[in-house]
């Protein structure tokens, strides 16, 4: 609370308020409860439908052709696909994000470049993912990057896990940069000066002292980024190919054949299985959506745990 610190009785003294003010407070309560109601409805509905339709074998059975929903298998390919793009995306975004954040906070010369970089990261955060996806089609269809996807008859297909993972890393990048920057900025100057005073370089200081201190912020940024990656659909729909199963590239060694091939993820699966997509299997859509939501909630909970643990550790006095 801004004004009534820890005060339990928040409606103290509203009797003297003008009618306009009291109506305003009533609106506040109404909207607050409405938000809660919507959230409850989403969770309950997905829970009920998900439990109704999710059968454990769906998790490890790939999709297959069939006539009714029970015959068409599960979405194991989609589940594994989600994990693959998540790993690909984060393994690109995390090092890059940490490096950019370190440069912005510790180096940042010339100042004009620093400002441009900040604006760039903000701009990337604001670009719709569909535009990123379109750009991905151009890049990965070029012959120079043909090794990252399937090439048939000289035409580079340009759709693969690599392609999707690369563009998804851009989606996660701004979140990581923001979080790590916040962590680095919260370390007081005298800590760095203490390290320089014993002759350590900036690089060593960052590597040995600053970044380890920022582990909570790095973890938070990574998990927020992961959340956005596994929730993204537009890039997947465009850059991963419109298949329901893995379509590995022939003639390439494992695991490259899968990574260069097309596939699907949970988000794509839900999209295709909904009435808008090609499959029109609402039951499987609910099941997959339920699993997806569980993953996102697990990530949220993990972020909370990290925050709470970080608060227990002491901080420097400023």
């Amino acid at each position: 609370m801004l004004l009534l610190k820890d005060r339990k009785d928040a409606v103290e003294g509203t009797a003297a308020w003008a009618l306009v003010d009291r109506i305003g407070l009533a609106i506040c309560w109404f909207l607050g409860l409405l938000f809660c109601a919507i959230a409850v409805m989403i969770v309950v509905y997905l829970l009920v439908q998900g439990i109704k339709f999710l059968r454990p074998e769906m998790l490890w059975t790939p999709a297959a052709a069939g006539f009714s929903e029970t015959e068409t298998g599960g979405f194991s390919d989609a589940l594994v696909g989600t994990l693959i793009v998540a790993v690909l995306g984060i393994s690109l975004a995390l090092p890059a994000g940490v490096a950019i954040a370190v440069w912005l906070v510790e180096y940042g010369r010339p100042a004009a470049l620093a400002r441009v970089t900040e604006s760039t990261i903000e701009a990337i955060a604001g670009i719709p993912s569909i535009v990123l996806a379109l750009f991905g089609t151009v890049i990965f269809s070029s012959t120079a990057l043909g090794f990252l996807s399937r090439t048939t008859q000289g035409i580079v297909f340009g759709r693969s896990f690599f392609a999707a993972g690369a563009m998804l890393s851009l989606v996660a990048l701004p979140l990581i940069v923001a979080s790590v920057r916040e962590g680095l900025n919260s370390i007081p100057r005298h800590v760095r000066e203490a390290s320089y005073a014993v002759g350590k370089t900036k690089a060593a200081t960052t590597r040995r002292i600053l970044l380890p201190t920022c582990r909570p912020q790095v973890a938070t940024g990574a998990m927020l980024g992961l959340g956005r990656i596994i929730g993204d659909t537009a890039i997947i729909v465009v850059l991963l190919g419109a298949t329901q199963n893995f379509a590995p590239v022939e003639g390439a060694p494992f695991p490259l054949n899968f990574l260069r091939g097309a596939g699907t993820t949970l988000t794509n699966f839900v999209y295709e299985a909904s009435p808008t997509g090609n499959l029109n299997q609402p039951q499987k859509a609910y099941a997959a959506a339920f699993v997806l939501l569980l993953m996102v909630l697990a990530l949220n909970a993990a972020v909370d745990v990290v925050h709470r643990r970080a608060r227990k550790v002491g901080t420097w006095s400023h």
Binding site: L2, W29, I100, W103, G126, P128, I139, V238
Partner: protein, 329 residues
């Protein structure tokens, strides 16, 4: 005298590291510039063939897209004729409606969360807001298409209403109303977080000073707190607008698949009419990328999206600078 200069130095000298990191940073900036350039370069044929009429009305958008695609497949003279007004109008209606409703609700909820909610309520509401913000858009789309759309189509739209527009479009529940409502729920939590951060950052001295002058808490929070948090409010709104404009998947599932421009002059029925904003159009026609003129058209739509996002960010930045005059930034 023996040479006492150390035979070793740090392997990663600061200069070296700085140069490497600087190169990475320049690479990212170059990547963004390349992205923008690529989009506009690929979009150019569509714009050059249509000129300003690209943004105007004229003809059926779906037919035009079809013609463009087919001409590319055939390999003969490419057809570029495209008038995107129906799509632009749909974007304006849905985004505008959603942002207005979300702004109003998010402001009240943020004020409530920060100041007036009792502790038990804010302990519930805070995680609720975070939860709503993290639900993937495809799940919102799924729930919308399986719950909201049938509800509107079967229970809200009456038969006479359907009959009145039969022949032009069909009112099946894929509508402006469904799209706006779900989009509102998607962007409001984001605004609530940014607004409440802004409210919490207000100088406590101002709020206490206002209370000490006998102004009640409600007025204090709105007149001083919200007023001081105006830069945060603008930032949150700009972010929400950018998110709303770029939302492709959820809208593809809910807004309807026809490039139809709902006409408010039709009366109340216009909120039940289907439409399709710019971003979902790209998703819906993504298979057409192989055809060069269609490729140009889709990139042209993407260019418009990029440009609007940039314009909104700039507006927000300018507005926040103007507020510094009174010390509110």
């Amino acid at each position: 005298m023996e040479d006492l200069t150390p035979q070793y130095g740090p392997k990663w000298s600061d200069q070296r590291v700085e140069r490497m990191l600087g190169a990475l940073v320049c690479g990212v900036v170059a990547l963004l510039l390349a992205m923008i350039a690529t989009v506009f370069v690929h979009a150019w044929p569509s714009f050059s063939h249509n000129g300003l009429a690209w943004f105007g009305p004229g003809g059926n958008v779906d037919d035009q897209l079809n013609a463009i695609f087919l001409s590319g497949q055939a390999g003969t003279e490419y057809v570029y004729t495209f008038h995107a007004w129906a799509l632009i109008w749909s974007t304006l209606l849905i985004t505008g409606g959603a942002v207005l409703i979300a702004l109003f609700s998010a402001l009240f909820v943020a004020v409530f969360l920060v100041e007036f909610a009792p502790e038990w309520m804010s302990n519930i509401l805070q995680p609720v807001v975070r939860f709503l913000a993290s639900v993937p858009s495809v799940i919102y789309g799924l729930l919308g298409v399986l719950i909201l759309v049938p509800f509107i189509g079967n229970h809200l739209v009456t038969e006479p209403q359907k009959a009145s527009v039969a022949g032009v479009i069909s009112l099946t529940g894929y509508s402006l109303m469904a799209a706006t409502l779900v989009l509102t729920v998607m962007i409001a939590p984001l605004m609530v977080s940014i607004f409440s951060d802004g409210l919490r950052a207000v100088k406590p001295g101002w709020l206490e000073g206002s209370l000490a002058l006998g102004v009640n808490r409600w007025r204090t929070t709105w007149k001083i707190g919200v007023r001081s948090a105006r830069p945060a409010i603008i930032a949150g709104t700009v972010l929400a607008v950018a998110r709303a404009i770029g939302e492709a998947v959820m809208l593809a599932m809910i807004s309807g698949s026809v490039g139809f421009a709902p006409n408010p002059a039709d009366g109340l029925i216009f909120i039940y009419e289907p439409s399709r904003p710019l971003a979902p159009t790209i998703v819906k026609n993504i298979d057409q990328l192989s055809s060069p003129p269609a490729n140009a058209t889709l990139f042209a739509i993407a260019a418009v999206l990029l440009f609007s996002a940039a314009v909104f960010s700039l507006t927000g930045y300018v507005a926040r600078r103007a507020m510094r005059k009174y010390g509110a930034a």
